[in-house]
Amino acid sequence: MSNFRMHLLVCGGTGCTASDSLKLVKMLKESIKKHEITNEVEVVVTGCFGFCEKGPILKVYPDNVFYITVKPEDAEEIITEHVIKGRKVERLLYVEPNTKKRLEGQKSIPFYKKQIRIALRNCGFINPEDINEYIAADGYQALAKCLTEMSPDEVIDTVVQSGLRGRGGGGYPTGLKWKYTRQNQSDEKYIICNADEGDPGAFMDRSILEGDPHSVLEAMAIAGYAIGAQYGYIYIRAEYPLAINRLEIAIKQARKLGLLGEDIFSTGFNFDIGLRYGAGAFVCGEETALIHSVEGKRGEPSSKPPFPAQRGVWDKPSCVNNVETFANIPPIFLKGPAWFKSIGTEKSPGTKVFALAGKVNNVGLVEVPMGITLREVIYDIGGGIKNNKKFKAVQTGGPSGGCITKENLDIPIDYESLNSIGSMMGSGGMIVMDEDNCMVDIAKFYLEFTKDESCGKCTPCRIGNTRMLEILEKITKGNGTEQDLKDLVELGDVIKDTSLCGLGQTSPNPVLSTLHYFQDEYLAHVKDKHCPAGVCQALFSFHILPDKCVGCTACARICPAHCIEGERKIVHVIDQSRCIKCSACYNTCKFNAIEKG
């Protein structure tokens, strides 16, 4: 078809786009034109490679060379050196931090070594805006197989056998969800894709939709066939413009080829998909609230039963699955449920995508087999903690989850294990914290989030979370008492017990889990009026150590409040009454003469 001898794949995910990858594409194309090799080299914009820390990413095929942090001005050199003369641009290769060796291939980079990519199989490999590339990568073969060779019950059985569980966080078996929805008789049924990704720091679903939108469309059609639905909604937040754009293109292309629409593959099966935009309310990730929002009503949860499988959108049986869950469906049909079950653990087969963020060297999107330990994810894939600081905790499950300490780092990642240590799988946010993070402050951050996002329907959630936040603010300002800690636990338990939906049932988790694992840190705040990590401004101060200060005046000059006094070569002093605790002096001092405490 094409005679291109070389493909330059440039990441077009949100992360790399933000660091100018589209300008890089433009510069590459200009340079290719200038050197008259337009019919030899093709530039392809792909989805997320996952290695966001080192973006923008550029991968050269067939040489299999993986360039990192490529800037638009590097385009000319890549074309003249690598593309025309075959000399790799060494300085853009990944440097292995331990051996300082430059690595060429993507698979040789430690970040990718332990990953198994199922849901992300096409991200960074195909052009998400070209249905032909998806089809070439076995796309829509699974749908064809289901429609022409299998009955809906066989389709459901295959998913049940695979053991696939909901990747949105709950971990409910997907096959059973489909089965129950199929069992409810109705003239109309609906498939809903939950793309309302709301956890702070999480971007798994966005990346799948940006990098491989067709896999979700294909899986939704399969699910529609299985449960007897003819229409599907993708509920996606309006703040994901790139994902929406790629979905729109994908839907249009699939309709054009008759892969969506009427009489698909001449089997009489009709299925089409429409987008519904969310305004970014966290609670709309809860399925009943989501359904109300799809209907154009206020996004508030309602009590279950009736379950969506009985009465969902427009009171018709509906099945809500998460983006990542759908992305796992086509490979299950192509490679078989036994293959899927062979990956991961017995109760949690397959893989999970995590958005690795926080104080870790390799921030990015990783897909790992279930059962891998947190240590492997953080140290082997994530490359350890930034600036050689000490690991303190890792937060999984977002605002609904909890913190995991170093004692539990070797616990295998699966739904049950994480629950057993007071956290949860959640949708896949994984935030790493080091010794500089104050756990009270972290708990406050999450609670601020859930307090804002509470829809207000249930009093315990609406008022309880506000009161809990007030107590945390009181503690971080140095006015907390030991009674406050007891109140937090009691209030937290009440909110969990008496809220209607998942938001309220889990919102106290970050507080309760940090209280459990980091009680000493809370006690330091309330008893000693001291913030050990030096985050809560009211609970620490800066001091200049007289024996270390050489009187270089650097701190006095940088202080924005002009509260450091001292002459050249004379020990400096901080006026505590005027100090605003901005840390500028602390970060500037070259002699470690400023103490935080």
């Binding site: 075959g86 590339e133 064809a144």
Partner: protein, 131 residues
């Protein structure tokens, strides 16, 4: 594009689009045949570009899969340019010299397709990289 009516039509699209992705999946494959064309200044000056195009064209013509054609810098054998190296699993890497368009096509047909070395054009049978 017309709407697909059958699974066969989907397979046809897949086949047509496969060439596009083949370049990428072959690069990831471990038992591929790797053809490296020396494309430094001397190589380009002696016509390596034409050679490379001929090799690519012949591979497409013969419908060979799992062959990856890349370029490399100066191999150091300037007198023999254009130089082409063929590496396939289980065989020592072979370095061919003075590869013009015709010899390029010959390499594809004889060496890669039929597994016969072009004795008259080999520079060094056991060309190895020293790390």
């Amino acid at each position: 594009m017309a709407k697909l009516k059958t699974v066969e039509e989907l397979k046809k699209i897949r086949q047509a689009a496969l060439d596009q992705l083949d370049l990428r999946s072959t690069a990831e494959s471990e038992d591929k045949v790797l053809v490296r064309v020396g494309m430094a200044t001397c190589g380009i000056a002696s016509g390596a570009r034409t050679t490379m195009k001929a090799i690519l064209d012949e591979i497409a013509k013969q419908g060979l899969a799992n062959v990856s054609v890349t370029q490399t810098g100066c191999i150091g054998y300037c007198a023999q340019e254009p130089v082409v190296e063929v590496i396939s699993k289980g065989m020592p890497s072979v370095l061919y010299g003075k590869v013009d368009e015709n010899r390029g096509r010959e390499i594809v047909i004889e060496h890669i397709k039929n597994g016969r070395l072009l004795q008259n054009a080999i520079i060094n049978k056991s060309f190895e990289n020293v790390e």
